[in-house]
Amino acid sequence: MSFLELQNITKIYPNGTKAVNETSLNIENGEFVVFVGPSGCGKSTLLRMIAGLEDITNGEISLDGNVINNIDPSERDVAMVFQNYALYPHMSVFNNMAYGLKNRGISKEEINNKVNDVAKLLEIDQLLTRKPSMLSGGQRQRVAMGRAIVRNPKIFLFDEPLSNLDAKLRNQMRLEIKRLQRQMGVTSIFVTHDQTEAMTLGDRIVVINNGVVEQVGTPKEIYSKPNTKFVAEFIGSPQMNLFNCKIENGIAHIADIKINLNNSKNIEDASLGIRPDDILISDNGQHTCVANLVEYLGSDMIIYSKIGDQEFSCKLSSKIDLNAGDTFKFDISSTLVHLFDNTTGLRV
C-alpha cells in the first residue's frame, strides 16, 4: 500500500463544473511529485482536496494507511505553502512559525528550539522578530516554507509557491526546495504550471489536463515518451512540432514531404511529432525548407519555417551560419518521431 493513495477522486463544484475527474494516483513515502498542467486544469483543486480545504465529491484519499476524506484539515498533519505565502500579517516571523506548534500543545522550550533550528536552516534567523510586511518577497517565501517545515508534517503541499518571485530568485528557491526536500525526505507534492519547474523538481511528474491525469512518470519518461498529444505539446521548450499528416503503409505525408516511418501503419488523421532539437540539419538532408525567422538565444538558435502551411521550429547550435530567408536541408529520423492518432489524441 502506498503512502498517499488517491482512488477515483472526482470534484464537482456546486455550479456543476467538473474540476477533477476520476483521478487515481499512488505516491510513495519520501517522493517528490509535481502536478503540472495549464491553469484551470484542476491541479490545485486536487492538491487542496489532499489538504482538506475542498470537499471530495467522490472517491477516497488515504494517507499512511488511513482514509482521510472526512478528517479535518487541522488533523491531517499536512503542511502547505501557498502561492501568496498567506503569512499571518499581525504576527512576527517567530510567531508565524510557532503558531501551528502552539496549537498542538508543544512546550514553549521545544517550540523555541524547533523554530530556531528551522530558521537557521533557511537562513532567516536574523528576521525572527520582524513582521511579514517588513520582509522581501524571497524572505516571505522562506518564512512560508519555515512554517511548513517546523511542523514536521507527513506531507508538504506546495501550491505554485514560486510564481510571485522574479526569475533569478525563482531559480535559486527551486534549487533550495529540491535540496531541502532531499535532506528531509518528506513526501512532497508541488503544483505548478511551469514545465521547467516540473522537470527540474519532480522525482515523478503528473501531467493533468481538464481534470484528467494525462500521464504519470519520471521527467525523462514524460519527455522522451509522451503518452498523449497534450503531454507532447505541453512538456518541452520550445514546444514539440506536431504535423497533421496521413499515414499510408508506414509513410507519413506532410504536404509534399514523405517520411518513411519504417512500419506498416495506416492512419487517416494522425499527428507526427518531433522535438525541435531532433530535426537533423545537414547539407545532405533529404528535405529543403526556407528559414522564415531566426531567433538567436546565445548558444542556440531557433529557426521557424513551414512545410506546406504547417509551421515548425528547429533548435540548433548558433555556430551554424544561417539567416532568415536562407534555405536549409534537414532530415526527420523515424526513430525520433512521436506518432499520435488525432481522433483519440493517444500515442500509437
Partner: protein
C-alpha cells in the same frame, strides 16, 4: 517655489477652519472662569478669569435636578457607563455577527445581512414605544441595562466589519486551518488582532453616539439617579458661568476617548494601508 505658495495657502485655509471651530469653545471656556456677575455686566470674555476652581467645583458637586437628587459628577458617571456599555456591546455584537455572516456557511447570509442593514432605516426614535414596552416588561426601567441594551447592536458597525472580513484573503483562514486552529481560535487569534484599528474606530463612533443619547434616557428613567449629561444640559438652570462650565466639562469624556484611541482610530478609518 510654487510648492511653498500652495503649502502656505493650504495652511492658511486650515488655520481659518481651526479658528472657526476652536474660538467659540475657547470663549465659552474663558467665560466659564469668570463670575456670573462679571459676565452679566461685561459680556462674553476672551481671557481667563480667576474663578476656575470655584465655578467648576460648585457645578460638579451641586445637587440639581427637579428634586435636587443628582450632582453633575453623577451625571458624568452615568453617561460614561452608558456610552462605554453601548460602545463595548456594539463592538462585540457586530464583530461576532460579521464573523458569522462571512465565515460560516449560513444559508441566505446576504439576505440576513441586508435585513440587519435595513434596520439603519429604523432609528431608535421610531421604535421607541415597542422598545420601551419590552424594557419595562423586563423590569429594566431605571437601570443601566435598560439604558444600554436597546442601542447595543449596530448595523453600520456590522457592515464595517463584514466588509473588512471580506477583504481578508481566504488563504489566511486556510493556512490557519492547516496550522490546527478552530473557529473560536481563528476569531481570537486572527480576526480580533487584525481588526484592532477598526475596533477602535467603531468604539469611538459608538461611544460618542451613546454619549449623545437624549430621548432614550429621558424616556427610560424616572429616577433622577439615572440622568445623563445630555439630559443635564437641558435642565441646567444655574447661573451663566455654571452653565458654561457644565458645557465645557460635558465635552471632556469623548475628547479623552479620542485622544487615547486617536492613532488606531485614524488607521481604522483609512483601513487600506
Amino acid at each position: 517655489m510654487t510648492k511653498y505658495i500652495s503649502s502656505t495657502i493650504n495652511h492658511f485655509i486650515l488655520s481659518i477652519g481651526l479658528l472657526i471651530m476652536v474660538v467659540p469653545i475657547w470663549i465659552i471656556f474663558a467665560s466659564s472662569t469668570h463670575s456670573s456677575l462679571f459676565i452679566n455686566t461685561n459680556g462674553l470674555q476672551f481671557f481667563l478669569g480667576d474663578n476656575f476652581i470655584e465655578n467648576y467645583s460648585r457645578v460638579l458637586f451641586k445637587q440639581s435636578g427637579f428634586f435636587n437628587e443628582i450632582t453633575a459628577l453623577k451625571m458624568f458617571f452615568n453617561s460614561f457607563v452608558m456610552a462605554t456599555g453601548i460602545a463595548t456591546l456594539s463592538v462585540i455584537t457586530s464583530l461576532m455577527a460579521a464573523y458569522g455572516l462571512v465565515y460560516f456557511k449560513v444559508k441566505y447570509a446576504t439576505i440576513i445581512f441586508w435585513v440587519i442593514f435595513i434596520t439603519l432605516l429604523v432609528p431608535l426614535e421610531l421604535r421607541i414605544m415597542p422598545s420601551y414596552i419590552v424594557m419595562s416588561k423586563l423590569n429594566l426601567v431605571n437601570t443601566f441595562a435598560g439604558l444600554i441594551l436597546p442601542i447595543s447592536a449596530s448595523a453600520i458597525a456590522t457592515f464595517f466589519f463584514r466588509q473588512f472580513y471580506k477583504s481578508i484573503p481566504d488563504e489566511l483562514l486556510e493556512a490557519a486551518k492547516l496550522d490546527g486552529t478552530n473557529s473560536l481560535r481563528f476569531f481570537i487569534d486572527f480576526l480580533i488582532p487584525l481588526s484592532k484599528t477598526m475596533i477602535a474606530a467603531v468604539f469611538i463612533f459608538m461611544f460618542v453616539f451613546g454619549y449623545n443619547q437624549y430621548l432614550w434616557p429621558l424616556i427610560m428613567t424616572t429616577s433622577e439617579q439615572y440622568w445623563t449629561v445630555v439630559m443635564g444640559l437641558k435642565t441646567m438652570y444655574g447661573s451663566i458661568s455654571d452653565r458654561f462650565a457644565f458645557v465645557i466639562m460635558s465635552m471632556i469624556p469623548p475628547v479623552i476617548i479620542i485622544i487615547f484611541l486617536q492613532k488606531l482610530f485614524i488607521q481604522g478609518i483609512f483601513q487600506n494601508k
